[in-house]
């Protein structure tokens, strides 16, 4: 019975998101421009360097960017934090409080339905890109890599989601959260491996990269798929990722219960 309820939410999520399909397609098509920009930039960098940079050559760099583009489209929440914050601010959240449903569970189901529809829509441009860069793509050699990659990707998705959710909870206390969201975005943008693979950074930063939560939002699963992290280091990475996942989940539920206690149903 409980499951049926959430399956219905998933269905509604799919239907509501379907109006965004052009939006999704446009996003991914425009997203190709910075990707090609990065490809040209790294081509020029490798041209003047003449050798590999920290184990990356031109081919593996392109492969890295293809992977992050795929992962971002698959797991990064796009509208969730704005929608949740909006529902809190406008008092629409009151109607969910009266429903026999967990709000976090409800949002997770919606998140999953968004991501499913999103990746379905943008799969076409991604496949086209993968074909264009087919010579640079390398499938993992070991079967176990697929399992580790799958686990890490799921954890990365929920880590990103819980961070977004916890941020949105700030709307219980602060009216306008966009500045706070964008401050976090700017850290995520540079420290999750979106702009460059984190291990081309100077060595003295490697400790920070190893422990930073942002690393495990995007960079780490990509590293697993490229088989640049294996064995004990892989297990340790997965453990750190699980730790951050638990912590972000804890923040999300704590902020929610505190927020609801303070909530006054403005406009409700």
């Amino acid at each position: 019975m409980t499951l049926a309820k959430y399956i219905k939410v998933f269905d509604i999520g799919l239907q509501n998101t379907f109006v965004y399909r052009w939006n999704f397609l446009l996003r991914s098509v425009f997203g190709i421009v910075p990707l090609l920009g990065a490809v040209f930039l790294w081509k020029a960098i490798f041209h003047s360097k003449g050798e590999a940079i920290n184990g990356y050559d031109y081919s593996s760099m392109i492969f890295y960017f293809m992977l992050t583009v795929f992962l971002e489209n698959l797991i990064t929440p796009t509208e969730d934090e704005w929608q949740i914050a909006g529902e809190i601010r406008d008092g629409r959240i009151s109607s969910y409080l009266t429903k026999p449903m967990n709000y976090l569970g409800y949002r997770i189901v919606l998140f999953l339905s968004y991501r499913l529809l999103y990746i379905t829509v943008v799969l076409v441009p991604i496949i086209v890109l993968a074909w264009v860069f087919r010579d640079h793509l390398r499938m993992p050699e070991h079967a176990i890599t697929w399992l580790a990659f799958g686990t890490s990707t799921v954890m990365a998705a929920f880590l990103q989601f819980f961070i977004a959710y916890a941020l949105a909870m700030i709307a219980f206390w602060v009216l306008e959260i966009s500045t706070i969201v964008f401050i976090l975005y700017s850290f995520e943008f540079f420290l999750s491996g979106h702009v460059f693979p984190l291990d081309v950074m100077p060595l003295w930063l490697s400790g920070f990269i190893h422990w930073s939560p942002f690393t495990y939002e995007l960079f780490f699963p990509a590293q697993i798929f490229m088989e640049r992290v294996q064995g004990a280091a892989l297990l340790q990475g997965l453990a750190i990722q699980a730790g951050w996942l638990l912590l972000s989940w804890f923040c999300a539920i704590t902020l929610w219960s505190r927020g609801v206690r303070k909530y006054q149903a403005v406009g409700g």
Partner: protein, 280 residues
């Protein structure tokens, strides 16, 4: 009756001064509005500053491995990023919020109000709000450009500085036209956040030296039709790379600006003709 007929020259002055007066009032209103949310105002400055720092860190990382990228040294690249910062922040100060809200005006039908105003409709939708925080960030860009010039040991001539300022002005016009064109597409696509997002994606490549792009369809499209590659590169070359003749680039910048500004204005008129409001 005759009294009210205004002669052509004074008519033009009348129009210009009226638009300036309206514009000044809008800027004043925006400032008053912004100053009532001081914390938010300061936080936006922090946000933009962080993005900017991130870009400089990125360059720092890359130039830890190489000493030039397609012939551009580190400080030339920093100057390029600073120039991009000045251009994009001036654009954002004057136009960004207004254009980003255009899809929502179309969706809700509130656009009607703007169309009824006794001023040009494009002017009305482009100039309602003004972002003071962006001006602060543009000044950060100026400081970075001056600092890079010092690091490069380049002292530009008065002529170079004048051309740089003119080129930045054309760059602002290109930013404006690209986002205006994208926002106008909202007349057809209702949920248009993806279009606004497209603006940031397309201008992502404006921060790279033009010489990294090999001669290709990609380069032609983004240098002539959607001229984002030349927006920051032409002023930066004019100011800091005096061994490179700026004139061809400047001519290209002027032609491309006129092209895209007129094209998007025509597109806007075309969109307005088939607009049939959303409300009632």
């Amino acid at each position: 009756m005759n009294r009210f007929v205004i002669q052509p020259p004074s008519f033009v002055i009348f129009i210009v001064s009226r638009y300036l007066e309206i514009y000044w009032m809008m800027i004043r209103n925006s400032l008053i509005r912004e100053m009532s949310f001081k914390a938010n105002f300061l936080l936006w400055i922090v946000v933009e500053f962080l993005w900017f720092v991130g870009q400089v860190v990125f360059l720092e990382v890359i130039y830890g491995h190489v000493d030039n990228i397609a012939g551009w040294s580190k400080w030339e690249c920093v100057l390029l990023i600073g120039t991009h910062q000045i251009t994009s922040q001036i654009f954002q100060a004057f136009f960004y919020v207004n254009l980003a809200e255009l899809p929502e005006l179309v969706r809700t039908g509130r656009l009607d109000l703007n169309l009824l105003l006794p001023v040009d409709a494009q002017f009305a939708v482009s100039t309602r709000k003004f972002g003071m925080d962006n001006i602060v960030n543009a000044l950060v860009g100026v400081a970075i450009v001056v600092f890079s010039l010092a690091k490069l040991h380049v002292v530009p001539s008065a002529m170079q500085i004048a051309l740089y300022i003119v080129a930045v002005g054309f760059g602002v016009a290109i930013h404006y036209a690209v986002l205006f064109g994208l926002a106008t597409a909202a007349f057809w696509i209702v949920r248009a956040q993806g279009l606004i997002y497209g603006y940031f994606n397309v201008f992502n490549i404006a921060r790279f030296p033009e010489s990294i792009f090999p001669y290709s369809i990609f380069k032609i499209v983004f240098s002539y039709f959607i001229p984002v590659i030349i927006v920051a590169n032409v002023p930066a070359i004019t100011l800091a790379r005096s061994f490179q003749s700026p004139w061809a680039g400047l001519a290209q910048l002027v032609v491309a600006t006129v092209f895209i500004v007129s094209l998007t204005r025509a597109f806007w008129h075309f969109a307005l003709r088939r607009y049939s409001s959303a409300s009632s």
